[in-house]
């Protein structure tokens, strides 16, 4: 289990489970937990507003206790928030943006360092050449 100054072991488990629901991986792309990107989670959480961070940590703690199939159901529900009354819709959108934001940022920043480079698989090769280097 990776060390995080921000997350407990249960919250890290929750993050890995939610991450693997969002990004299960395939023959080319590693899964979220298999990419090694979870090790960089503090690089995000350290900069979040305290209230947002506390809410996210509480949610990840709950995910740590739930089976993946239930997490999948919750995330699927948060994807379908159109037409949902405002107050509930706001909560669903907040959960969706929070969980998806952390997972997608960690994974698609290609910082994991384990297995195949995400950027190589998706063919993202942006660069700026410095002539002095």
């Amino acid at each position: 289990m990776m060390a995080s100054a921000q997350l407990t072991a249960r919250q890290v488990r929750g993050l890995r489970k939610a991450g693997d629901v969002l990004i299960p991986g395939d023959s080319e792309l590693p899964s979220f937990s298999g990419s090694g990107c979870v090790a960089h989670v503090d690089g995000m959480l350290d900069y979040m507003h305290g209230g947002d961070r506390d809410g996210l940590k509480a949610l990840l703690g709950v995910f740590g206790l739930l089976p993946k199939v239930l997490i999948r159901g919750i995330i699927a529900l948060t994807e379908h928030h159109h037409g949902v009354p405002t107050a509930l819709g706001s909560v669903l959108r907040m959960i969706n943006t929070g969980v998806k934001g952390v997972v997608m940022t960690l994974y698609y920043s290609d910082v994991g360092g384990q297995g195949q480079s995400i950027y190589q698989v998706i063919k993202y090769d942006a660069k700026v050449v410095r002539r002095d280097q």
Binding site: V21, G25, H40, Y47, D52, Y108
Partner: protein
């Protein structure tokens, strides 16, 4: 706290840098305070994770209460000029007529602002992208416009020697330009201010401001948690719509100026992607080369932008999850992108939360929704007429143009800042950034912020002489 500054400027973004430069040139001793870090081309964060976390408030994005608009609020020395695409358009009659009607301020006309625009433009290198460097995303944009009878035009950008011949990709510069070609404040106007003697203190978030007969006193928290206090003859608020509103509200100015935090606009932007059989490589070369210049679009309350985003941004935009989401991500090199930017009509409100973070109340009304939908209809026409095989639309808006909250006007009961750029009822507190905008112009605000800040600086220097 022994030093007494002629001017304390809170916020080292576009407005703060221009004001610092002009006031320093005018002989004032200036201090610029910035909550974000002072990066250079050697130290800008180079992963999307680090860039989002370290260059924006809230670790990347802040949401409105309804959680359907994400606000990108720069927190870095240079502000928006570090993370934007440096689009430099003057405001037109449509925008300024609406400003004049809302505010009663007579100088909101293209002719009256012309000298200030000219002065601002003279500080930067402004270029359009040669057609030979346009990427395929731009070609699709132009081809789709032509096929549908829409009008497009080249964009004018603040840049110098981007060396496209070296294969440089401007998308990298959304996290700060590694070759200092983008005309960000730290390599242009702020650099000149510092050379002229202005002091910059970064990583210092100002919590409170107090005004007395003798001037102003500000208190901030530094990165290590320690408190810092500064005093000066005058204060220039330059931390944007949310930052200025929050500082005034926290400092108790809302009690006597009830409009503080109100009249908030943000140009909600909706990105639409389309998959093509052939590679598009929208991330290569100049990120934004062209823009919509269609009078019908302007009348309809939206504009279309030729734009793209790095992988995390695209991943957040694509709905769904699991293997279908991954399938779209593997097509990233085949995706084109056009963004609808809504000229929003429904003002929002900024309030200070208990834990110090902003509470942003912002909704689209029926007219704003209709503007968004009319824009999407045009995007669909463009994509479908250029061979797109699938259109993917995100369901969250992103806002980067954060405006209002300290709106300018002649009536103190309906505005916060006077036409002289002073807080109504104040002798020492000024603002000239996007927070003073009376409503949404529907045009990228950077150049007008520069022009207003240049005009405000002349006012501040004149006030100091009397």
């Amino acid at each position: 706290m022994s030093t007494l500054y002629d001017a304390i400027i809170v916020g080292a973004g576009t407005s703060g840098s221009f004001v610092a430069h002009q006031l320093t040139q005018g002989g004032m001793k200036c201090l610029v305070l910035e909550a974000g870090h002072f990066f250079t081309r050697d130290t800008y964060p180079r992963t999307e994770l680090a860039a989002n976390a370290q260059l924006y408030w809230g670790g990347g994005v802040e949401l409105n209460r309804d959680a359907d608009i994400g606000f990108l609020r720069p927190k870095v020395v240079g502000g928006g000029s570090i993370v934007n695409q440096a689009l430099m358009d003057r405001f037109d009659d449509v925008a300024l007529d609406a400003w004049r009607a809302e505010s009663g301020v007579s100088f909101f006309t293209p002719a009256a602002l012309d000298p200030w625009y000219q002065k601002a433009e003279a500080e930067l290198s402004l270029q359009t992208i040669p057609v030979r460097y346009h990427n395929r995303n731009a070609h699709i944009f132009c081809e789709g416009f032509d096929r549908n009878g829409y009008v497009w035009a080249p964009l004018r950008r603040a840049q110098r020697d981007c060396r496209y011949e070296d294969g440089n990709d401007c998308i990298v510069c959304l996290a700060g330009c590694p070759i200092d070609s983008k005309q960000s404040m730290p390599v242009t106007v702020l650099r000149r201010a510092i050379e002229g003697g202005a002091e910059v203190v970064s990583d210092c978030e100002i919590q409170e401001v107090a005004e007395s007969n003798g001037g102003v006193r500000v208190r901030g928290v530094q990165r290590d948690g320690s408190t810092a206090e500064y005093q000066g003859g005058r204060l220039i608020l330059a931390s944007g719509a949310i930052g200025n509103s929050m500082l005034l509200l926290r400092s108790g100015f809302g009690a006597t100026r009830p409009r503080v935090g109100q009249g908030f606009y943000s140009h909600p932007q909706y990105m639409h992607l389309a998959a093509y059989d052939e590679p598009v490589n929208a991330h290569k070369g100049p990120l934004q080369s062209v823009k919509s210049a269609d009078a019908q679009f302007r009348r309809s309350g939206f504009k279309l932008e030729n734009v793209y985003a790095p992988p995390v941004g695209i991943a957040m935009l694509i709905p769904g999850f699991g293997r279908s989401h991954a399938r779209h991500m593997k097509q990233i090199a085949h995706l084109a992108c056009i963004e609808v930017a809504v000229r929003d009509t429904n003002p929002g409100r900024i309030r200070a939360g208990n834990k110090g973070q902003p509470i942003i109340e912002k909704r689209l009304n029926a007219e704003d929704g209709a503007r968004r939908d009319r824009g999407f209809a045009a995007v669909r026409n463009i994509f479908l007429s250029t061979g797109a095989r699938e259109i993917i639309s995100g369901n969250i808006a992103i806002s980067l143009h954060l405006m209002g909250g300290c709106n300018m006007g002649t009536d103190p009961a309906r505005s916060v800042v006077s036409p002289e750029f002073r807080l109504h009822g104040s002798r020492h507190i000024y603002a000239a950034d996007s927070s003073v905008f009376p409503n949404a112009p529907g045009i990228n605000p950077a150049l007008t912020i520069m022009a207003l800040s240049t005009k405000a600086s002349e006012q501040i220097l004149a006030d100091a002489r009397t």
